[in-house]
């Protein structure tokens, strides 16, 4: 079934309807997920040979689609499949496929707004892909003229610096660049919506600014007040003079 859809899409090419194309990509995606779950259920790991089939189908779809957004989504799927495999197998089998998808994105789609989703989705990649990821971001930064893409680049750049700072690895240059990035997020892209329902970029930027100015290692911890599970009010400062281990937790 999957093969048939793949062939149909490339065969009918231009005349194929948008609805049909969406179904084509969704079909590849759902076949892939089905295979993934069935291999986990059988206690095994997905095989690279099988994954390559889905990757080939997604590449074919990306080439034949007349809708840029759909092509980007297909290439994004290739990146997802290969990085998942690299991560779980801890081997480099599908690294070329990931790089190939990224190359196509940089060649053809730097001004496509949906590239923002790809940029938000690669904050964590397996170590084998980090250098290629960084190069991809550099090229897109240099070439894109689209404001949605630039907003995504700006946010992810800021988040990367803050995450490095959290683990003690942020250098002076990055430290100096951060306030400007947050300022840009708020002023240039403030009304754009942030990913994952985090409100708009202005709100997100102000939260990140608060964290950067008040919550880094070496900062005096801001006081907190609230109530405990029994409704009894208390404050962080009630425990002044003690070492405080503050744990943000939830049952999930």
């Amino acid at each position: 079934m999957r093969r048939f859809v793949g062939v149909a899409v490339s065969f009918f090419g231009i005349s194929f309807s948008l609805v049909g194309q969406e179904q084509g990509l969704e079909q590849i995606r759902s076949d892939y997920h089905e295979y993934l779950y069935s291999s986990y259920e059988q206690g095994g790991m997905p095989e690279a040979d099988r994954l390559v089939d889905y990757i080939v189908a997604a590449f074919e779809f990306a080439d034949s689609s007349e809708v840029a957004e759909q092509s980007v989504a297909a290439l994004h799927l290739v990146m997802g499949i290969s990085s998942m495999h690299i991560l779980t197998k801890e081997e480099d089998t599908l690294v070329p496929e990931w790089k190939d998808a990224v190359d196509r994105l940089t060649l053809e789609y730097v001004n496509e707004p949906s590239l923002a989703m790809v940029i938000h989705g690669i904050d964590f990649v397996p170590p084998a892909l980090e250098a290629a990821r960084d190069r991809f971001l550099e090229v897109v930064t240099a070439e894109t003229k689209n404001s949605v893409v630039r907003a995504a680049l700006c946010l992810e750049h800021a988040k990367r610096i803050m995450r490095k700072d959290m683990t003690g690895g942020c250098d002076e240059e990055e430290e100096a660049a951060l306030p400007g990035l947050l300022e840009r997020l708020a002023s240039e892209f403030g009304s754009n919506s942030a990913p994952q329902g985090q409100g708009d970029f202005a709100t997100l930027a102000s939260r990140m600014k608060y964290e950067w100015e008040n919550l880094r290692v070496g900062c005096k911890a801001p006081d907190l007040e609230g109530v405990d599970g029994d409704g009894v009010p208390f404050k962080l400062s009630d425990y002044a003079g003690k070492v405080i281990f503050l744990d943000f937790w939830a049952h999930w």
Partner: protein, 111 residues
């Protein structure tokens, strides 16, 4: 994480140390049930969304759970982790800060 936290709390009950939670569950029942089931004796700020306040986790821009902060006896943030760094790293950092706190307080007595 809970078993280790339980052992920390009992091991350090006489030390200048406190474990406090910020609970991100969306209702009070989950918190109470977890406290009961997991033998959680330490206090947690209730932190779900309510009309009269912004959750602490939102103000502190927490992006994943658990997020952990270690604050020294003088109120300064000394460590923070997104995700559990492992028992050894955690214990080591806590022990250092407790030793530091004891040193400072004995110096103060000496004065």
């Amino acid at each position: 994480m809970f078993p280790h936290e339980r052992s920390l709390v009992s091991k350090l009950k006489d030390a200048p140390f406190v474990l406090l939670g910020v609970n991100g569950d969306e209702d009070l029942e989950s918190l109470k049930r977890m406290n009961e089931e997991q033998g959680i004796t330490w206090r947690s700020f209730v932190d779900f969304h309510a009309s009269d306040r912004t959750p602490i986790s939102e103000r502190w821009n927490v992006s994943g759970w658990p997020t952990l902060y270690l604050i020294d006896a003088n109120g300064f943030i000394r460590h923070r982790w997104l995700g559990n760094p492992g028992d050894e790293v955690l214990d080591d950092a806590i022990e250092r800060l407790i030793a530091e706190a004891k040193e400072t307080s004995s110096e103060a007595v000496g004065d």
